[in-house]
Every structure is written in C-alpha cells, then in structure tokens.
C-alpha cells in the first residue's frame, strides 16, 4: 500500500463531487448501487434471523440431552444463539413469552455448565 496514492485518489474524488456534474451523477449511481447492495445483504441476513422463534427454540433446546457429546466450539455457539434468541423473545408480545424465556435460559445455563465442566 502506498499511502500517498490513497491520499491522491481521495483528493480527486472530493474534487469531482464538488465541481463536475457528470461525475457527480456517476458517483451518485455508484453510491446508490452500493446502498442497494448493502440493503440486499442486510435483508438476506434478516431473512436468516426470521427463522420463527419457536423453531429456533426447538433447535437449540433440542441439544440438551446430547450436550455432553458436544465440543467446546459447538457449546459456545449454542450459548451465543440462546442469548440472541432471548433478545428476540424479550421483544415478543405473546403471553407465552415468559415460559419460553424461562426455558431458553435453562437450556443456555445447562450448555454453560457442560462447557465449564469441559474446561471451556
């Protein structure tokens, strides 16, 4: 990397926006494309988040009986996912949410216990 070159490049761009309209249009187009791309990627990752909370709950707590057979990275991931699910549950407007919060915490705490017994 040549720091001088980077600097020069930036200067040109700034200059371009300020003074030349045609380049400004091009620049806008580029920015819009960039934003569109960002939005698209964000929405697909939302799509992933949108696994219904109940399915996610069943997936995570489904591991409790086999928890001792999991390794440290798997347990760590389960714990992170439980915490993420808990954040989603907190935001629900559903009378059942308190029992699912209770249950998710129980699963997370078990994973944590097993992780600790494995020295993780």
């Amino acid at each position: 990397m040549n720091p001088e070159k980077t600097f020069v490049g930036k200067a040109v761009v700034c200059n371009g926006i300020a003074s030349r309209p045609r380049e400004a249009v091009l620049w806008n187009l580029l920015m819009s494309l960039g934003i569109l791309f960002l939005l698209l990627s964000a929405s697909t990752s939302w799509g992933e988040e949108e696994v219904p909370w109940k399915d996610e709950f069943e997936r995570l707590c489904g591991y409790t009986d086999v928890a001792t057979t999991l390794d440290v990275p798997q347990l760590t991931e389960l714990i992170t996912d439980c915490d993420r699910l808990l954040e989603r549950l907190e935001m629900l407007n559903d009378p059942k949410k308190k029992t699912y919060i209770f249950r998710t915490k129980k699963c997370r705490d078990l994973f944590r216990f097993i992780l600790e017994t494995k020295g993780g």
Binding site: F57, E58, C61, G62, Y63, T64, D65, V66, A67, T68, T69, P95, K96, K98, T99, F102, R103, K106, C107, D109, L110, R112, F113, I114, E116, T117
Partner: protein
C-alpha cells in the same frame, strides 16, 4: 452362653445405632411435624388467591407424579422448584400456560365445564381448596395407594417400584409444549460415573435421575460445577439444598437414611 452374649452385644449395638440416628435426625431437619401420607408433596400456592378473595391453591404432587415425569412440568411447562416461585395467574392458565397446559378439558378437567345435561360446572374448588372441607375430589389418595407398592416414608408409596412394575406409566411429552430432543446414540453415555465415586457409600443413579428430571433441572441450579472437594454436607441437604431440593419435599424424605447411604452412616 456364648451365643447369648453375642446376641446382647449385637442388640446393644443396634440400639445405640438407632438412638444415635434418631438423635441425629432430631437435631437436624426432622423436627418438623411429619406430614400425613396424602399431604406429602402438597404445595400451597398463594401469591394472588387470598388477595382476590379466592382460597389458596393446593397442588397435590401425588396425582400428578403418578401420571407425568418431573421434567414435563418443571422443564417443559416451566414450573419453578419453589412454592409460589412461578407466579401463576388465572390469565396464564387461560392462555394455556402452567396448570392450563393440561387443565383445559383435554388432558384434565378445565376450570369450567359443561355437564352432560348442558349445565355449567365450575371446578374452581378442586384447585382453590385450601382448608375447605367436603370438596368432591375425583381422585382419592388412599384408594390409589391401595394398588401401589408400599413405602415406609413420604407418601408411603414406593414410587420407583411402582414405575418398575408398570403400575404407573409416566408421560414425558405434551403436544405443543414439549420438544423433540436429539437422542443420545448410546443412552449409557448419561452414566457420568467419574464424579459419582466422589460420594462414597452414597447411592445416586445419574441415569435414573436424568430420565425423571432432565439435565436442566439439576444443572446448574441445584448442582453447579464441581471443583473437586466435598462441597456439601448432610446439613445442607436437610436445609433443602442439593439432594434436599427434591428429597424431603417430593421424592422420598431425608429421614430414610438408608435410601441414600448404602452403609449405616455411623
């Protein structure tokens, strides 16, 4: 003559053993009035009832544990392991939570039902029953007990034998509430024997306890990470901690020393 002396010595030893045990039990928790067999495991729930001019709720464990595993209620349905700890409300029950997960007219009676004649029957009293005489309960404890293997303590029923002999069949799954868990390929894996040997002369089957209770009920709330040394004593157990979180309340009581200690403890 020889034999007679031996007999005396043995008798004296036994007497001393019983006296010491009784004294020990008396100095520790066993001072409480011993509940009658039908009362053993009954939980009075009164966070909101009296405040709302209802009788407190009496939850009998016996009829429920004769049909369901501990885990179904204390893990899947989410009841706390402490009287009043869940903070159940009638609205929760109506929404299908807690008691309402079963007492909805399908698994068990609902708060209000319609009789064959088309009249509305209110079942409020069967749950809100504290200190009320003459409630027409459907299930009679002493009738039920007649058909069960007898135990010396607690409900006076040997629950383990009842299960082994198939006299009670415990449901561990409730549609819409329980989840399908991944199963161990080798169920013997639950036998985490390493630490069990840390308790000499104590019988504790990890596997059986896990089947009744599920792992989440004990770990980490009742048994946290074991750092090696002996961390709890009999006094802790009498105080309702560790094994005492269930034994003496719902599972067989602490006065049954030999239930846990393979050898006399003195």
């Amino acid at each position: 003559m020889r034999i007679v002396t031996k007999g005396y010595i043995l008798g004296a030893c036994l007497l001393v053993f019983f006296l010491v045990t009784a004294a020990y039990a008396a100095t520790y928790g066993a001072k409480k009035r011993r509940p009658k067999p039908h009362e053993y495991g009954a939980v009075v729930i009164n966070n909101f009832s009296a405040k709302n001019r209802m009788r407190p709720v009496v939850f009998p464990h016996w009829i429920h544990r004769a049909k369901h595993t501990c885990r179904l209620c204390h893990v899947d349905i989410g009841f706390a392991m402490r009287a009043g700890g869940t903070e159940i409300t009638e609205d929760d029950n109506k929404a299908g939570l807690y008691c309402g997960a079963c007492h909805n007219g399908t698994v068990a009676f609902a708060p209000k039902e319609t009789s064959a004649k088309g009249e509305t029957v209110e079942n409020c009293d069967r749950c809100h029953s504290y200190r009320k005489e003459g409630i027409p309960f459907k299930n009679d404890f002493y009738e039920f007990k007649k058909g069960m293997p007898q135990g010396r303590f607690g409900n006076g029923i040997d629950w383990l034998k009842a299960e082994d002999e198939g006299r009670v069949k415990l449901v561990d799954y409730l549609e819409g509430v329980s989840i399908r868990r991944q199963k161990l390929k080798n169920p013997e894996d639950i036998e985490i024997s390493a630490k069990e040997t840390g308790m000499p002369d104590i019988i504790f089957s990890h596997r059986k306890h896990a089947i009744w209770n599920g792992c989440e009920l004990c770990h980490p709330e009742i048994f946290g990470v074991n750092r090696g040394e002996v961390k709890y004593t009999m006094q802790d157990i009498f105080d309702g901690k560790f094994c005492g979180a269930c034994h003496d309340i719902v599972a067989f009581p602490n006065s049954d020393c030999q239930g846990c200690h393979t050898k006399p403890v003195f």
